[in-house]
Subunit: 686 residues, 2 copies
């Protein structure tokens, strides 16, 4: 049983195991925007995301399908900007080999990787109603509800009730009603212990808990079947005969591993190197929930960094070693604590907390990437997998977790997959997936060999010939040497062949038994794989939460403070009014901006300028250009910055240059403001 559990964990793409959506434990007061001090209101954010069509449940016209989401224009643009930056930050910066492999995958590939047999969650069914429950979620919910009922019965106040309500709504909880029933103290403690370990139970163990605690269908009180494994892959048939079973890939990794030999050749056989891939993967969740955080179709960006297991040092680690990050190492968690260690990645490797500098390099690069796209570093931590949750092959595994109103969300996994995948595919196909390396100093290897007379061997042993030869070849040096002595003495050798028993081989069938020397000048090894794996949808949602605040002077006005490089649109073009005189100027400016690679939208609606800017604050547009009557006179335009709402006034050429610098991160708004001086001649904001 524990073996199945281990295998299931190992195969789950680390960033989507879902169990890692941990209970939200911060009190409400902590959920305020760090700069504006505005309290966070998830309902308000969701209303904004819906209204501005960042994303929406797919197929809403047809009442929707759980776990499927469509991205509207702003969401789609952010997604494209994140993946574009990912490509620059990882693929181009480290010369990775990006590939694009198919989602449709034949069964045999995923049989080898283990997904067909083990990539599963545990589910229970109510045979009467046909309802299906994910077993771990059900146990969690029922016990939590009972603990809540116990608190009510004891008259203890709930903490942060609003957050809890939100969460319940999101989860579509099965337990609709909390009954105020007091529990024994010992039972309370037992429940709490179970909940603390809820991620660690396998199916049979969950079945035991369900039986022991008399957990039933919360709606009907109907009895449930014991948990059975439900494979999370979407199945289909390839080709017209229907005979070739296939699946939609659950991760992009396998497609990369299968191309290992081609990639190594493309890289001129140089090691180490990395492949990378951005693409959709699929997971048939039993009960999708929490919006973009657990979905059935999702965009992943994965890196497979192939490294010599004997040389896990990274040549560029020096460039990142002084970056300070928050770590939650496994020993702290094992002790039941969540205390953060904030040290540099250099120190973390030095003290052995992070296994090697390649893993360390990627953790630091992940940190840099996430902060670059606008993730709040104070709400990012690197949590190490505990020994009991870590895959059996991994020597170290860390998740980048981002804090949201749903709790700490695992958004990037960074694991050492060892040589597991290349080894199993090689075994299944008979193709070597190895690196051959010229040795600096060749050495002489001495081996005993048994050389048979092929011409006579076949006719003598007929269809058993191969079995006898294979057995001889696989003998140890000592055994071969002993046979040599026997041949010398007796003129024949005796060997035990599986299925045939004792077999005698006469002298005339043997050409030689002797020790031979071979010069070994090449080393052959299966590389290990370090895998940083990004869930783009989860990162996008966390980013949206980290970027959201409201103007203190008007709490109804939401702002999404995306960094310019990530913002869906960089610039809003606003003519002061519908006056015809502004139209050619706006058109010309739009052309110049596009030419400079700055995406822009014109808002020439009749709404007040302040209202038009408010609309674009919600879309996270960082800059606004106003064309007014002064522009008609001297060509100058104003540039408004979203967060400060302050403006400068200058020529279009100067403004475009300033924007380019601000977008690329080569300048700061404060400095621009200081240089050009704040322009206040125009009352634009309400």
């Amino acid at each position: 049983m524990p073996v199945i559990q281990t295998v299931i964990r190992r195969l789950s793409p680390r960033i989507f195991t879902g169990n890692q959506i941990r209970t939200f434990s911060r009190s409400l007061s902590a959920m305020v925007h760090p700069e504006s001090g505005s309290p966070f209101d998830r309902n308000q954010l969701e209303e904004l995301l819906r209204k501005r069509f960042f994303y929406a449940p797919a197929f809403q016209l047809y009442n929707g399908v759980a776990g499927l989401y469509d991205y509207g224009p702003p969401g789609c643009a952010i997604e494209a900007n994140i993946t574009d930056l990912w490509r620059k930050h990882f693929v181009l910066e480290d010369d990775m080999l990006e590939v694009s492999t198919t989602m449709l995958t034949p069964e045999n590939v995923l049989k080898t990787s283990g997904h067909v047999d083990k990539f599963a969650d545990w589910m229970c069914k109510d045979p009467k109603t046909g309802e299906i429950f994910r077993a771990d979620h059900l146990v969690e919910e029922v016990l939590e509800a009972r603990l809540k009922g116990d608190k009510e019965a004891r008259g203890v106040a709930e903490e942060a009730p609003k957050e809890e309500d939100d969460k319940k709504a999101k989860r579509k909880k099965k337990v609709k009603e909390i009954k105020a029933v007091k529990l024994e103290d010992a039972v309370v403690q037992e429940y709490e212990e179970v909940l603390a370990k809820i991620d660690n139970y396998d199916g049979p163990q969950l079945g035991e808990l369900i039986a022991k605690y008399k957990i039933r269908n919360p709606a009907t009180d109907g009895e449930l079947t014991p948990p059975i494994a439900f494979n999370l892959m979407f199945e289909t048939a390839i080709g017209p005969s229907g005979a070739l079973k296939g699946y939609l890939r659950p991760e992009t990794a396998q497609g990369q591993f299968l191309n290992f030999n081609k990639l190594l050749e493309y890289n001129n056989a140089k090691m180490p190197f990395a492949s990378a891939s951005i693409g959709k993967s699929f997971r048939n969740e039993i009960s999708p929930r929490a919006g973009l955080l657990r979905v059935r179709e999702f965009l992943m960006a994965e890196i497979e960094h192939y490294v010599d297991p004997l040389k896990k040092d990274h040549s560029r680690f020096n460039e990142v070693k002084d970056i300070k990050m928050k770590f939650l190492p496994k020993d702290v968690q094992s002790a039941g604590k969540t205390d953060i260690t904030e040290i540099t990645i250099g120190e973390a490797v030095e003290k052995g907390m992070v296994d090697n500098t390649t893993l360390g390099y990627f953790l630091a690069r992940i940190y840099l990437f996430l902060t670059k796209i606008g993730i709040d570093p104070t709400r990012m931590r690197f949590r190490q997998h505990m020994d009991n949750e870590m895959a059996h092959y991994a020597c170290d595994c860390w998740d980048a977790e981002l804090q949201t109103s749903y709790g700490w969300i695992e958004c990037v996994g960074c694991a050492d997959r060892s040589a597991y995948d290349l080894t199993v595919h090689s075994k299944a196909t008979g193709e070597k997936l190895v690196v051959r390396e010229a040795l600096d100093e060749p050495y002489i290897q001495k081996d005993w060999i048994v050389e048979t007379n092929k011409k006579k061997f076949g006719p003598k042993f007929k269809r058993d010939a191969k079995a006898v030869e294979d057995t001889l070849e696989k003998l140890s040096n000592e055994e071969k040497q002993a046979l040599g002595e026997q041949l010398e003495k007796e003129g024949k050798i005796t060997v035990t062949v599986e299925g045939l028993g004792q077999v005698e081989v006469e002298k005339d069938l043997i050409l030689a038994i002797e020790e031979r020397s071979t010069k070994i000048s090449t080393r052959e090894y299966t590389p290990n794989v370090i895998e940083p794996s990004f869930g783009i949808g989860r990162i996008l949602y966390s980013l949206v939460e980290h970027s959201f605040w409201t103007r203190p002077q008007d709490i109804q006005r939401g702002v999404l403070s995306f960094p310019p490089i990530i913002a869906p649109t960089k610039c809003l073009l606003v003519p002061l009014s519908g006056n015809e005189v502004f139209k050619p100027i706006v058109k010309e400016l739009g052309y110049k901006l596009r030419k400079a690679g700055i995406s822009n939208k014109v808002d020439d609606s009749s709404a007040a300028i302040g209202r038009r800017y408010a609309r674009n604050d919600e879309l996270g547009t960082p800059f606004g250009i106003t064309v007014d009557f002064q522009t008609v006179k001297d060509g100058s335009i104003t540039l408004r910055e979203r967060d400060s709402t302050k403006q400068i006034r200058a020529s279009p050429e100067e403004i475009i240059e300033v924007m380019e610098q601000l977008i690329e991160g080569d300048a700061k708004w404060e400095d621009v403001l200081a240089k050009y001086g704040e322009f206040t001649g125009q009352q634009l904001d309400d």
Copy 2:
């Protein structure tokens, strides 16, 4: 029968119907590179693409799956560059609303769109061997083989035999052996007529041909089943119960249509506007063939441009009207000819060849896009669908076809889908998918109404109440007026209700029958959709063929002359030798190039510089920088241009600026060469 045929054609994504891979008819002598004059050799190109891992059959380790391909680093980079440019050229330039919708699609959506019932090809089965044949392909191959055999028997020489062989190999032809059997002259003519119309037969008609011409399994001579429709969508089940049937989308269009209301709102209800989407679609081909040209998983880029059916003019048509393009209009084809008309798009619209300026605008924009990415405009034509192949809703439909060694390939479709999709989804879901537009001049509409007394109507007619009321409401003005007169006279009205027969309604159940005036100030309409739809894989393959040539002085050296903006890597960095002194310079240059957004690779292998450049000619890298001992002295570097192999020498800053201009298309190599002078001091190329 013709109805099914029409529907199948209508539903086929226009760019992947596959039938449009037309027979290659150019003689071999025409297949030479226009500039170098080198003859085209597909085997040589394919060997290059394999060796440099542009793409490869997926799952080769597991013996592959037909119709699935993985893209290696260069293919993946070209694909990314093409889609990136597509986004800039179409989405940003015309302010389109890009969305990203799910591939998993529930059955009811595709039932409405018609795909579940009609998205099919016809297949025959040999019940003895289990072999499956695509019916139209089989008829085509067998008749072609018989015609070939007839020619052999008549002693007529084959044209372009090599090309034919290539094509046969690609197609994995079922007919392995050509028998030299002379046919009657009348039969030859009949076969030729059938082949000319092969795209136009439906299943039963193909069945008749198979029976009439005694077409059997070419390998075993076994009898075949009559053609049956095989649905080309991949089926799967969504969710744990397996009850929700779903498919992988066959086009991105449906996901866009379903979000129409949200997109219109996002666009502030302004018309016209376009949505766009880049993403994978799937098609379970019966027998994939011709490499990237007919595959089961493919990247599409689709635009749905929503337009008022009464105002199909495009505001930016003026900007493109003078572009000259090659047209193959339908009347020419109907006359059995393929003569090209080369005129401006302005003229084409003016003479009514192209239906309207919106369609014309997109055709011209497609032309500009394809030439920008490097498609040879002399091998591009716009073929109009003939009336019998055009979907029943379309008023005009054009394909951008690119000429390759497989013939003219349909790579972009541009159709007017009319209001079909929005209408059927609206009908199926009861949700309005319309545009409401304030009328410039409101008008008064007069209508007769029958107002019933709801309170009394229910108790009187009970469950029939609704049927009676609905019938009354749906009557024409004249009928209502007549009822009014009857009421006046008889104190009751008589109406025939379906399923109830004659029904009498007493006066007390009726409040009024009278003519009322309504002021109509809004117009409501279902927009028409113009859909440019791009098959990225087909475009990519055609581009590779158009870009390939060999150096006249060494026919073994292949060159891929991609435009810099499309090339997988922009610049190769080559240190003259492995001397340590070059290393920091190369590293620094790499950093500067990345900073300028110029992707680059270092080749510091020990191969001769000429060999290193040859390798990169095959990858299509447009620029090469050499670092030599002169660089160590004065910092200057050389820049080599791929096609001319000529070099200039200048400072890194100048070289980077030159490269930026060349990549953006703001400068030409000839001018750069003239400005800096050719540098010949170094013998770099062999």
